[in-house]
């Protein structure tokens, strides 16, 4: 167990940021804004620091500063071009051990969900996985709120005796990043060439190929139009896509449209897919099995359209329509396309 005196050496909040291709992961921005909130809450003096590993990183510090980073530590090295868990963890372990942040946050992305537990094991400390919220308690310890049983249960996770206190969060879950005036941020270039010589080379990336996604990414969308089992043919599925398109939103699905081949895996909402928090969620032909509801329960306005009045989705919806999803979708699309949408009087 770590002594309290040693624990006190660990200070400040760090976010391990992530670049995917030529873009910073939205989770990194959201975590930085959250870190600023925690800093304020705990009246923490140390600067919120973003740590970024990769190659050709010069364009990114300003973007990280706009999301809340006050210091950006860059580890820019050709050996870090592709994500290799063993290589990245080696560098991170060296920096974190030397710099001793009290709180260390990462995205619960493919990369973050691999690195965070690895680093937790190397540093012998605790990691709270994919938390939906975080705060400091009255002793200044991090309290991470973590879902279990597909989101049915929320539990607080603490790591009071060891440091750093680590946590990950999925993109889109902590709320949108705040925009900061990035003028006084500090950039530090960290030379990892010595530590990289110790890379055992057991894991080698041969290539990483980025796929392009059509339209707005699901986690980022303000409007999500989701289709389920009730959307039984391709023609009706096209209506789901069209409505999302007209509203500038993203298309989502439950398992059946995925199995039918209408939708893609990255569009699935639920415990085995994504969790989303859009302003508006429209569920068409979705009955509302627990594992789907867990992924959309935090949406703003929930509209459910289903022909079965007993469908459980209606219990978690603000507005319900019992009827044929296709007819309603067609009606909405026509109103949006014809201009009728704007003619309808909306009370202030």
């Amino acid at each position: 167990m770590m002594k309290i005196a040693d624990r006190d050496e660990y200070r400040g909040i760090w976010v391990i940021a992530e670049v995917n291709g030529d873009q910073i992961s939205s989770a990194s921005f959201e975590l930085l804004s959250k870190a600023r909130e925690l800093k304020e809450q705990g009246q923490i003096k140390e600067k919120v620091t973003a740590l970024l590993l990769g190659e050709n990183l010069a364009d990114f510090p300003e973007k990280l500063a706009q999301a809340g980073a006050e210091t950006v530590v860059l580890v820019d090295n050709p050996a870090l071009r592709y994500f290799q868990n063993e290589t990245y963890a080696l560098v991170l372990q060296e920096i974190v051990t030397a710099r001793k942040p009290a709180i260390l946050l990462m995205g619960a992305t493919a990369v973050g969900s691999d690195l965070a537990p690895m680093l937790g094991a190397k540093l012998c400390t605790g990691v709270a996985a994919h938390c939906v919220d975080m705060r400091l308690n009255d002793t200044g310890n991090l309290v991470a709120v973590v879902p279990a049983f597909g989101g049915k249960v929320l539990g607080d996770i603490l790591c009071p005796e060891l440091r750093p206190q680590m946590a990950t969060a999925k993109p889109g879950i902590l709320g949108k990043a705040v925009c900061f005036l990035a003028k006084d941020y500090f950039v530090e270039n960290y030379d990892a060439s010595e530590i990289l010589k110790k890379d055992r080379g057991r894991v080698k990336a041969l290539s990483v190929t980025y796929k392009s996604i059509n339209g707005v990414p699901l986690e980022m969308a303000d409007v999500v139009v989701a289709g389920g089992f009730g959307i039984s043919n391709k023609e009706t599925w096209v209506l789901v896509e069209k409505l999302a398109d007209c509203l500038g939103g993203a298309v989502a699905c439950t398992r059946p449209p995925l199995d039918e081949g209408f939708a893609k895996e990255y569009q699935m909402i639920g415990t085995s897919g994504k969790s989303v928090r859009p302003k508006i969620y429209i569920g068409a032909g979705i009955s509302g099995a627990t594992h789907h509801i867990c992924g959309m329960k935090d949406a703003g306005l929930v509209i459910a359209i289903n022909n079965d009045a007993k469908a459980p989705i209606f219990k978690v919806a603000d507005v319900g329509v019992v009827g044929d999803a296709a007819q309603i979708l067609i009606g909405l699309i026509e109103a949006l396309q014809s201009g009728k949408w704007d003619e309808i009087c909306v009370p202030n």
Partner: protein, 275 residues
């Protein structure tokens, strides 16, 4: 040399019964009474991957689990699916473990059960779904690892070539054995057990180990070995008003548009025209 393959499986409450989970008001702990346990669905993909790998490359497949003694049922199910041996780590001292303590305990169990070349896991369990055990188990074993593996094959040079799914990318990786691979749920379709395979499973070896046999460091198992502490738990209410709209399709559409506009939705087509 015969390849030694281990598959980690977890017993979890059946996700179809999550509605029945409640919090005991006195102890403030979760009550799972009456909820049947199953093999965490993702882990069956790891077992299927191991069985397919064995068909191609030969080898022996051992399933390992850390759970209360009742989980023998899940061990036998894995044996019925085709595993050759099963190991069940079962001791009260293991209870209350977080991912780090669980990984340490599983690593000790694996080290005692053989010199494994390949350890396969699912990507995440159905209940906690942290995805943290695969990387932490690999660390405990001193093995290299890959997460979210979609496909993998043994190369002539003795390394594994793997396709890995990332959020918006596909990675091709080469990894040296011994290694741990967390297998994606989209990697394969797990096989069913048959009446014959269930009968055969009963004759396969199941080794139940407590800590007397395992001799794991008591400071690193169960609650003692867990850096994270659980705090309050809540079951948030998800119920909403559920106003059902009536009228003709046209009337319903009009009401929906009002609701949507009040919530801040706008027509993309219109916006583009006005620019």
């Amino acid at each position: 040399m015969e390849l030694k393959i281990a598959v980690c499986i977890k017993s979890v409450p059946d996700p179809d019964y999550y509605d029945k989970i409640t919090i005991d008001p006195k102890t403030k702990t979760l009550t799972r009474k009456g909820i049947p346990a199953i093999i965490s669905p993702g882990d069956k993909h790891a077992l299927e991957a191991a069985l397919q790998f064995k068909t191609i490359n030969g080898g022996i497949v051992t399933v390992i689990s850390m759970a209360p003694p009742d989980a023998k049922k899940e061990s036998y199910e894995a044996l019925a699916m085709g595993a050759d041996k099963a190991v069940l780590l079962s001791d009260r001292a293991f209870a209350g473990a977080d991912t780090l303590a669980t990984s340490y305990t599983l690593a000790q169990g694996l080290k005692r059960s053989g010199d494994f070349d390949l350890v396969l896991t699912g990507t995440e369990s159905a209940d906690g779904a942290t995805s943290q055990v695969p990387p932490q188990l690999a660390e405990s074993l001193g093995m290299a690892h890959l997460c979210n593996v979609q496909e993998f094959s043994l190369q002539t040079d003795g390394d594994i070539m793997a396709t890995v799914k990332m959020d918006s990318a596909i990675g091709k990786y080469k990894i040296k054995l011994p290694a741990l691979l967390a297998i994606s749920r989209t990697a394969n379709k797990p096989r069913y057990k048959t009446a014959m395979s269930i009968i055969k499973a009963k004759k396969k070896p199941l080794n139940i180990m407590g800590n007397e046999t395992l001799q794991a460091d008591t400071e690193r198992i169960g609650q003692n070995g867990s850096p994270t502490w659980p705090g309050d738990i809540t079951i948030p209410s998800l119920a909403r008003h559920g106003q059902i709209l009536g009228g003709s399709v046209e009337e319903i559409v009009e009401q929906l548009i009002t609701k949507l506009r009040l919530a801040g939705a706008s027509s993309v087509r219109k916006k583009e025209k006005s620019v």
